[in-house]
Symmetry: C2
Amino acid sequence: MPLPTESGRPVLTTNIVVFTLRDEQLKLLLIRRRNAPFEGCWSLPGGVVGTDEDVEANAMRKLEDSTGLSGIYLEQLYTFSAPERDPRERVISVAYYALVASKRLQLRTDADSEGVGWFSLNELPELAFDHAQMVDTAHQRLAAKLDYSTIAFQFMPELFTLSDLQNVFQIILNRDLDKRNFRKRMRAMEQIRQTSQVQKTGSHRPARLYRVNNPHEVRIIK
Amino acid sequence: MPLPTESGRPVLTTNIVVFTLRDEQLKLLLIRRRNAPFEGCWSLPGGVVGTDEDVEANAMRKLEDSTGLSGIYLEQLYTFSAPERDPRERVISVAYYALVASKRLQLRTDADSEGVGWFSLNELPELAFDHAQMVDTAHQRLAAKLDYSTIAFQFMPELFTLSDLQNVFQIILNRDLDKRNFRKRMRAMEQIRQTSQVQKTGSHRPARLYRVNNPHEVRIIK
DNA sequence: GCAAAAGTGTTCCAGATACACCCATGT
DNA sequence: ACATGGGTGTATCTGGAACACTTTTGC
């Protein structure tokens, strides 16, 4: 396997589908393109991978750049390589997806700069390249992983109520869940624990606050 | 996103984990390397992706080259990009895995050429680069997919007995299954149908032969 | 006292598991 | 007749789904 001359190499990029939950909706981060092709069009964050750069490290760096946060859950999604996906020349993109706890972002996102925005999955603008396909694949993967992994907890802040948690599941799965069955299932999972604190909001009974046992771990379950 | 000069591009390759079942074992195809690095070492088939070549098409081509067959099930596995995975320079590999029906190969494999071989998963030689990791990832994916897809049927020839099919499951999952429960489950899946033919082998009752309903389709189930 | 969300158990059903004997054939 | 793998049904267990009322608070 002789390596090719440098002129025979395709361009390698990353793209990241950054999910968060805000305003009771699953949202993702888009960036408005400043250059051709697709100038002015919304697109996923990402960038070109340098010769000596690790692909995942590149994705993580771009993710940190666009959110201003570190320690975010990041997972490789799929590598997109359709020959005409970039009109200029052959560009291959390794797509990742990332999950950010809503509360962490709220610190920053008031300062949303021009050309960066959070969009609800239901109201996406036209996307550049094959990014719509990436979003689709990422959403499917996310929904599938709710069932057999502890990935949902990546969306949760330090302290949260069981109703908050149920909301997260309902939004991602896009259907209502039974409260009692949901709580039973969460208890059985043993991924969260009660705290002694409660949250008082509005004119009703205060809600017990919970905490994730291993906030940075995503385990395959069952 | 300006594209980089050509001198700033990493090399892109594919590798394929080709599984088949032979001699009651899950086996995979390895190729002995003729050049440095890892000269003489066994490795996964694959090759460099050209600038204008689709990555999946490249993998399919390499797969057809090494097996002499076409129409094989091929699925993207993962993209490996650790910075030191190739000692020469930065090489990124998009790994695929493929499943071949045992009977199809038996036509060809008597002519196994020097430097190409089928190895049982339990008795793998030392592998070049990070190929051992690729094999591991592929095996995990395969075992997981048995549960929630119809991927297992990719291993089956045109006609097969239920015992054959049960064997396939047992080998991949590496544990025994109950005969009656297995048959009940297969019937419920509705992926295979009885034929009117039977197979007479040895001094016992002949076995009914079955056929896969949609041989080229892999569906997600349940 | 009323509105609003929090919290709590039991019944039912379906799918998975455990398990043992008769059948058709070749020698 | 016996050895060999082919073929079949039932009882039980378990995890998921459906379902309604009481509790605590603010106003």
